[in-house]
Amino acid sequence: MYRLLRFILVVALLSPVVTSSVFANAEAHHGAPDKELTPEELRDENNAFVKHHTNDSHDFGIVSNEETGTHVGFPLPVILWDGSLHVFMSSAFEHGEKVVESKGNYYKLDTHDGKIYKTDEHGVVMTETTIDKKTKEETVHQLKPLDFSITKNVFVTIFMCILMFFLFKGIAKSYKTGLAPTGAAKFFEPIILFIRDEIAIPNIGEKAHKKYMVYLLTVFFFIWFLNLIGMTPLGINVTGNIAVTFVLAIFTFLITQFTGKKDYWMHIFWMPGVPVPMKIILIPIELIGLVVKPFALMIRLYANMLAGHIVLGALIAAVYFFDAYLAKTAFLGLTFFMNIIELLVAALQAYIFTMLTALYFGSAAAVHEEAH
């Protein structure tokens, strides 16, 4: 009975947050177009809406109205390397309308793919033609500078790093005064203990788990917090960016290889307990497995988060797509439901990433006493 009451209370407390985020998402979409749109135009507009919310961008846009051309948000620094260093704020682009001059070079922001191109002073993109020596085919490249900008994703990642640093520093400090948790530690202690007792110890082992706890806790909270901030109507999609998940998977891969014990390499190059011809066949298979494991980690997190955002975007677009109020209400309810599911998925994906990482660490740290 107590559990049921608690559940209802949590849902009741969460629902205004979730519904407001749904409405804010919808509001950010567009301010009710009065003119009739053909289905193709609607589809393109919905695609652009979903893309805008899932792609990285050079400024932190909160609300924008394409028809009146008003944008609310703040600009972020643009850092380009093109023979020399160019640094300026992204507000200089005026959302792709202006060509920016920096140290004698001209740059333009393409609003469709969100990339910066090198142009001449009139805004015509410079091109370079290369000829393939074998096929004699000419290919035209549009010139782009190397882009090291603090984009929206980078900004949110840095923000999250700072937030996590102070949050967990505070939690660690609260244990100096006594063993009973206080403040934020009250909420996070069970989660930290869960990762230690349910993820690290069963997979890695009582003895070896301690040195991996640092990474496991960091990666869990990093992914979870980034997933959660992606649920806010700010259009942030950091964990749904394959570059971010790629780096996370690379960390797991490197830690697994560099902490691998003798038995770990033994199982890859000379699998014990099987006949010699089988050992030789197993070597390439195990080597492929080394690469496939982090690759699957990367793709799983990326695809799950991106798919979640696209589905949510499509559902919100469907609210505007239909004229009948019954359909609008139904899709609003469905969006609300999907938002709740995505909150679950945000935690689940962080859990699964940590769990599989622990599993790989476990195989690296395992010491087999008995001969196979």
Partner: protein, 62 residues
Amino acid sequence: MDVQMIGAGLIVIGVGIGIGRIGGSAMEAIARQPEATNKIQTAMLIAAALIEGIGFAALFAA
């Protein structure tokens, strides 16, 4: 394009069957041994995640 769509459909069918079987078996196992719920759930999630990973990898190839 069309062939790729058929391939993507086949992948989703395969992944659906796989995860469905895992979920069903886990339900059955929990019904038989409710005290082992936690262990079964963990194993179920890992297996489902692994299948899902392969499914996504195949979807990207398609």
